[in-house]
């Protein structure tokens, strides 16, 4: 279960942590029983993600993937953001241990949920 230096760097100094005030989209994945819960918040302007932040209950990999995706997504169009895969996130971190690859590598899923949440709100501005 060896983490790369990049993973440890993001774990020790995670970027963009915390709940966002009035986010444009929120994605939640995982659940307590499996040991990982990830919340991703995004702000969207002109169809681009301008800001992202996260709150994560989870292992080192879960925290590092959350952290790095908030950097990866910044400035990307929604379409580009949707194309980010969990695999790419892991690659950006210099790889993840096998077991982590399959279980704590959920950041891209959270991002997708956040974008869908944003789009849903766009379609129905009154929705909570």
């Amino acid at each position: 279960m060896e983490y790369t230096d990049k993973v440890m760097e993001h774990f020790m100094n995670p970027r963009n942590i915390g709940e966002m005030e009035n986010p444009d989209g929120v994605g939640k994945v995982g659940n307590p029983s499996c040991g990982d819960i990830m919340e991703l918040f995004i702000r969207v302007e002109d169809d681009r993600v301008t800001e992202a932040s996260f709150r994560t209950f989870g292992c080192g990999a879960a925290i590092a993937t959350s952290s790095i995706i908030t950097e990866m997504v910044k400035g990307k169009t929604l379409q580009q953001a949707l194309e980010i895969t969990n695999m790419q996130v892991a690659e950006q971190l210099g790889g993840l241990p096998d077991t982590k690859l399959h279980c704590s590598n959920l950041a891209a899923d959270a991002l997708k949920e956040a974008i869908e949440d944003y789009r849903r709100k766009q379609d129905d501005p009154n929705a909570e």
Partner: protein, 386 residues
Amino acid sequence: MRRIYLDHSATTPVHPRVASVVNRYMLADYGNASSVHSFGEAARKALIRAREQVAGLIGAEDREEIIFTSGGTESDNLAIKGAAWYNRKKGKHIVTSAGEHHAVLHACKALKRHGFRITEVGVDSEGRVDPDEVADAIEDDTILVTIMMANNEVGTVQPVAEIAEIARRHEVLFHTDAVQAVGQLDVNVSELGVDMLSISGHKIYGPKGVGALYLRKGTRIRSQQHGGHHERNMRAGTENVAGIAGLGEACALAEEELKFRRSHMIRLRDRLLDGLQESIEGLHINGSRDERLPNNANVSIAGVEGEAMLLGLNAEGIAASSGSACTSETLEASHVLSAMGMKPELAHASVRLTFGRENTEEDVDYVLQVFPGIVSRLRSMSPLDY
């Protein structure tokens, strides 16, 4: 960087006195104990001495009641499968508990393929087995009860003497996995009334890859590893002389130090638990506070995942462990904490710190100094309440 090892239930450093014994049998008296010549004689003497040292620590009457194995896992497997196969004509039912080590649970599970039935009695919220439940679980064809002496995760000590008495009353063999208890608690096979008892070297400042099974005189089991006529035909394979001599020395050391170890570790443990409870909100102590291994502190810290805490602690030089899914090979939270009825988010939030003979109060104070900061940092990014 300061490095503090607080994972002695996972494994211990080999004591220098033990290491020097191991070295003697690696480098000088390296003979095979089956050999006629003087090198063989030195090896045989080492085995006799080690058998006496192990027997001495656990109060066995006869050194021939000690069978050397490759570790606690093998001792458990040999006891359980050995007893099951030997007694299969008497019955095919075994009673164990949900809180046992995987070496016990999976050995039992392996027997299921061969038509044995396993009853796992539960544990309460502190991880304790109720002797009455064991009594109720015994059926006409029960051949073995196996209940551990002390739990490796939460440190809860089981009422083994009482359960052994129940087994004896029902004329059922009783085995206990004492891997964590030995070297910390008074372990006396006569007083406990057990038929079989498992020991592992690397939990008591001995080498890894060596262990022992106490097999009460007259207790018959079937050997599980076949080959030469070693260990009174109970365990084939060239004896690991250096490792066995090391295990023996570790047992002698444990006997000498037992009182010191217990009081020393209880002091450190309680200092840590009290300190953590004061400085960290939403902290829950896992396991029994009273019937507890001297060296075990196990807590759940609401809202913070276990592996993340371990990484944080490791970055500060502190080595600990956790029952979180992320630290297990099965990616499931600790089966012990689950059996205790703990909610998953708390099970994933557990940290175990286990002391050793070389730890100091300064170590505890250092942990108390850095741990709350790690927790609040992780909580600052956690979506869970506490």
